[in-house]
Symmetry: C2
Subunit: 130 residues, 2 copies
DNA sequence: CAAGCAGTACGAGTTTTCTCGAACATAGCA
DNA sequence: TGCTATGTTCGAGAAAACTCGTACTGCTTG
């Protein structure tokens, strides 16, 4: 039975219509799948902060990219830029520029293809101080 | 039909009787299984030389530990000491002192217990220059 | 006992990485 | 027009890692 109350219109902040897949912004420069190197990937993952980032992306990224700020990391912005860049250049994440924001997601398929099991290890990891 | 020739006794070099399991030398200091940290392990594996060492141990170590020299690595001895120590302190290898020799093997069970799948990644890895 | 061998420990130089402030760029909004 | 929010680049200082020469230890063997 439908409600008879007058509808209330609420201003919803922050809803952005993301572009269709066809018109996604180009990814920032990144290594091709076949150029992924295990030693480089492992090196990028040997930093606890970056492990945190990747794990959070794996576990909580509901179907889309996330901005740098979404992670709630208590570090200066330039430090975050540094780490996100390290992840991208190692081939672990893909970054796209949406206007001002630069959003990241894990290259799940690529990593699973080249290093099967690796992402499971990261997902299972728990930081020292959660 | 047995040979009637006089038996020749040959000096066989380098046959050493290794101690019984019960009297294995104590392992050098290493982290306990429960103290293994993924970020540390990955850091130790982010060096191609060390990746090579671990992979060779995994693929070719027929049932026992190996000395530093067995790997045929073209580096000064002090460099090798450095890398073997890094592997041991990260918890990837166990080292035992047999007289003058210090032999290493991978802590397969420990690593599989804590980081299942990791060793497979290493075994599947191929270096840039094989 | 001297020589040779397997390997360590220390220390210095070099390179890499981390960390972060400062200055800048751009979009949205009042 | 100017403020705020997102995020970048540059550069410098600090910390860590790598590399390797030198000197040393402790067995074994002639």
């Amino acid at each position: 039975m439908p409600s008879t109350a007058r509808p209330v219109f609420v201003r919803v902040p922050d809803i952005k219509v993301l572009p269709e897949p066809a018109e996604l912004p180009e990814p920032l420069p990144e290594p091709a799948v076949e150029d992924l190197r295990l030693e480089t990937v492992l090196g990028a993952l040997s930093d606890p902060l970056r492990l945190r980032i990747v794990r959070k992306l794996l576990l909580e990224s509901e179907q889309f990219d996330h901005t740098c700020g979404w992670f709630g990391l208590d570090r200066p912005k330039s430090s975050l830029t540094h780490h996100f860049k390290a992840l991208r250049e190692a081939g672990i994440t893909r970054q796209r520029q949406y206007g001002l924001e630069r959003r990241s997601h894990v290259r799940v398929d690529d990593l699973n293809a080249r290093f099967p099991g690796l992402l499971d290890l990261i997902a299972a990891w728990t930081p020292d101080e959660p």
